[in-house]
Each structure stands twice: as C-alpha cells, then as structure tokens.
C-alpha cells in the first residue's frame, strides 16, 4: 500500500471516532450513572427513569446505541418492537435536537437524554460519558 492511500485509509477510519463524543445528561439533581444502568433505561428493561431519544435522521442516535450496547439501530428497533408489542414498555419520545433534550431534562428529574459533549451547558448534568 502506498503512503497517500494509507493516510487516507487511516483518516477515514478515524474520522467517525474523532467528532463523536456522546454524553448522557440528566437533571442537575440526578446522580451519575453506570453504562449498565443507562442501557437498562434506553433498552426498556427498567422504567425507573424516562429516557428521551433522538430522531433516526440524526447521526448521534446510531453512535449512541453503538457505544452503549454495540447494537445497530435495526437491532435496537427489533428490541423495542418486542417490548412495545408485549405491552411492557412505551418507546422513548424522540426529540428533534440537543436543545430540546436539554430543556426536557432540566425540567424533569426523571428524564435522561444524550447529546454531543460540545453541547453541554450549565442547565444539565453529565451522568455518563460514552467514548
């Protein structure tokens, strides 16, 4: 492999990792969480917290589930379709952008969401960093 192609290949492989630092955020009153706890809420195993999702058109959604559980969105969807059609859980509400997620978790101590690290501000608390 010649050098320019090697560099191109390396930068293509690193590119998706470089800009994606997803953080799980909650209300200022919410204690920090482990990855296992966050997984339980977002994959419908526990209803103790209210997870807030993003639209599938946002790349952060696929990144979030990949980092959280190693699953792609079709697997996540299959999991949720099992839960929804067993009456066990209602899927998370999908919010259009990071601002909407921040607003919702700031107002509700039970709500948790995820945004890019660069979008964190003082209205919310970082509960978990996913890298």
């Amino acid at each position: 492999m010649n050098k320019p192609i090697a560099i191109l290949t390396a930068s293509l492989m690193l590119a998706p990792m470089a800009h994606a630092e997803v953080v799980v955020i909650g209300n200022l009153a919410t204690p920090a969480m482990t990855k296992d706890e966050v997984t339980q809420f977002f994959l419908g195993k526990s209803q103790a917290m209210k997870p807030l999702d993003r639209l599938s058109s946002e790349p952060i959604k696929a990144q979030f589930y990949q980092k959280l559980s190693g699953q792609d969105l079709s697997q996540v969807k299959a999991t949720w379709s099992r839960l929804v059609f067993t009456g066990k859980a209602t899927p998370p509400k999908e919010l259009p952008d990071a601002a909407a997620v921040k607003k919702a978790v700031a107002a509700d101590p039970k709500a948790i969401g995820y945004i890019d690290k660069s979008e964190v501000d003082s209205s919310v608390k970082v509960l978990l960093s996913l890298n």
């Binding site: 997984t39 195993k45 526990s46 079709s74 929804v84 059609f85 209602t90 899927p91 509400k93 999908e94």
Partner: protein, 373 residues
C-alpha cells in the same frame, strides 16, 4: 381514475411513512400512544397433495402463492393517564380457523404499576406459555418467518381473560423476572374432521413463569395448567381434563451470533391423544444488514393406550435470511422442508385437505416483508 389515484397516493403515503418512521413514540395528546405492526407474505408449496398451514387455519398454501398463511396486520393503542396506570388494546387481522381473514381484539387490559418493577394487569391478554408469546405475531421482532409449529402449534390457547402479576428485580446488568396468572382461556375452535367443528375452553387457568436476563442470554421457564372442556356441536364430550403445558426456552445474541431454542411438553390427563412434545433450535450469523439462519424443529405425539394411539412425528428443516435494508421494514425469505402427518385435530398437523396418496412431505418457500410503526 380519481379513485385509483387516491388509492395510489394513500398507499405511497403509507409506505413512505412505514419506511421512514421508527418504532417510536406516536402520540395523540399527552396520554394516548399507538403503534402498529404487520407482515405481507406469500408462501408456496411444491405439492398440492396437502395444504401447508399454521395452527388454527383450515386452508393453506399449495402450489399457488398463498398470501393468507403469514400475512397479518396489528394495531395497538395505550392510554396512560398517569405513570402507574395504563390501558392497552390490540387488534389483529389474520387468517383464522373460522371467518378466515378477520379482525379480533387480542388484548384489552388495564395495567397498574405501584412500584418500579412490579405490575398487575387485568383483562384479556396473551397467554405467556412461550419464550415468544406476545410478540409472536410481530414479524419484525423475530428472525424467522413464522414460529416453529412443532412448538407453537400444540398449545390450544393464545389468549386468556383474568389477572396477572409480574415482578422484575435487577442485579447490575442482570435481572430476574417472576410472574403468575389466573383466569380462563379464550375458547378455541378446531376441526374434528371436515365439516365438524369443536371448541376447547380452559377453566381454572393458572400460570407461573420465571426468566433470567443475563445480558447476552435469556432463559425462561413457564408452566400453564387448566381444566379443559371439549365441546363438539355444542355437546360437552369431555370436561375437567387436566391440561399442563410446560416450556423452557433460551435466547442468545452476542457479537454477530444469534441463537434461540425452546422445548415444550403438553400433557392432558385422560387422553394420550392430546399430548405432544416439541423442540426447535435456531442459529444465525449477522453479516451487516443480512442475517442468514437455520432452524431445526421436531415434534411428536407420543403413542400409547395399548397401541390404540399411534405415535406421530413431524419435523422441519429450514434455512432463511433476514434483510434489514430499510428503517422499520425487513424482508425475509425462508425455505422449509417439512415432514409431517395428515389428518386434523388433535394432532397438530402441518397439512390439511390432504389428498389420497400424499406422502406427508413438502418444500415450502415463503417471502415476507415485516414492518412496525
């Protein structure tokens, strides 16, 4: 012309909606959410000697492409005025024993969750006799084209009216769930022989189940007991038969490997003819958007009663592939090689309307598209 245009536009809107929308939070107001699922499928057998059916069907697939064996459409709505109280209703249209394509209310129940992990329900619900009881009709939630009939066919009852309780306890990323139920089954129709229809009803229904979720694997055990009454032409021909249905199942999903297996045992005291044992194992490997898989399923009605009840066996070898190409829509193709027995109730047969000389073997090709919204 206008009508055709309107129908085409409607279909286009519907398809683009299902192709784009997620299984998600579809809400009307603050308290009502709805979701839907469906399967459009065709099945074709290489023989007309016997029609291939799933349980509770009396017409099936022959050499013509038959769309009724697997196609279905379900809608579900949940009304949740508070976080601890909700009401759910689900309607399902599919090919059934009577009435053929018809819509029925499968579930209508009230759920109360006084504590996290604890829930009580009352109303009409799916009878959780299996690993995949309530999401069995949701093609998108399953990797196969249809649940193996060797295991899922012998249970006469899909739904019940009554109460249940479930409690889930989490330990780190693992959890244990235990449940119990009581009530009576929804009456179920069956064909005694062509032209004569019977009804089975389970009274004094009790059920117990436990499952362990080990993150990568889930193991579930369940037992359902009932006192069964059988009616033919409105005359009671048997009652108080002690019916016991036991199932043990497990699923595995890690990296790209998918596995699922289940064993069932049906016993009815007083008649060996109603007993059945079955099992299946599924293995698959995810290759990006493709999931090729294979299933082996086997079932037997044990013989006995001094040789008057012969042993009957059936088995199916299947290979298939699931493709997740679009959002919320999957496509599947499955080829089944079925070896069975003819005749009707109570033997859980894969073939009906059997012609003389039929060797009880068939190869069935099924193509489906499943969607959820």
């Amino acid at each position: 012309m206008k009508k055709v245009f309107a129908a085409t536009a409607l279909a286009a809107v519907f398809l683009s909606h299902t192709a784009e929308a997620d299984i998600g939070f579809n809400a009307i107001g603050d308290m009502f959410t709805y979701n839907g699922f469906g399967t459009a499928g065709v099945a074709r057998s290489d023989t007309d000697g016997g029609e291939f059916v799933q349980e509770f069907q009396n017409l099936g697939a022959g050499k013509n492409f038959d769309w009724k064996t697997d196609s279905k459409l379900g809608l579900q709505g949940t009304f949740a005025p508070t976080t601890w109280l909700s009401g759910t209703i689900q309607g399902l249209s599919e090919e059934r024993f009577f009435n053929h394509i018809s819509t029925q209310i499968e579930w209508a129940y009230i759920k109360i969750s006084p504590l996290n992990g604890l829930s009580f329900r009352g109303g009409k619900m799916a009878l959780p006799a299996f690993l995949v009881s309530d999401s069995r009709n949701v093609g998108y939630a399953n990797n196969w084209v249809r649940a193996p009939d060797e295991v899922y066919g012998p249970n006469q009852f899909d739904t019940f009216q009554g109460f249940d309780v479930a409690y889930r306890h989490a330990i780190g990323k693992y959890s244990v769930t235990v449940g119990a139920l009581a009530g009576q089954t929804t009456p179920s129709d069956f064909m005694v022989y062509p032209g004569v229809v019977g009804v089975i009803l389970g009274h004094e229904l009790r059920g117990y189940n436990a499952s362990v979720d080990l993150d990568l694997a889930t193991i579930r055990v369940s037992r359902v007991t009932s006192a069964v009454a059988v009616l033919i032409d409105n005359a009671i021909i048997a009652k108080g038969l002690v019916y016991t249905f036991t199932s043990i199942g497990a699923t595995y999903d890690h990296n790209n490997v998918v596995g699922q297996a289940e064993f069932i045992e049906k016993r009815t005291d007083g008649s060996i003819a109603y007993s059945f044992n079955g099992w299946y194992a599924l293995g698959g490997y995810r290759l990006g958007k493709w999931l090729p898989y294979a299933i082996y399923a086997s079932g037997e009605r044990p013989g006995g009663a001094g040789g008057t009840v012969p042993e009957l066996t059936r088995h199916t070898e299947s290979v298939g592939v699931r493709l997740d190409w679009f959002k919320s829509v999957d496509f599947k193709a499955q080829l089944d090689h079925i070896t069975g027995f003819g005749g009707g109730f109570p033997n859980n047969t894969p073939f009906v309307n059997v012609q003389p000389g039929f060797n009880n073997k068939a190869n069935v090709l099924t193509l489906t598209a499943d969607f959820v919204f």
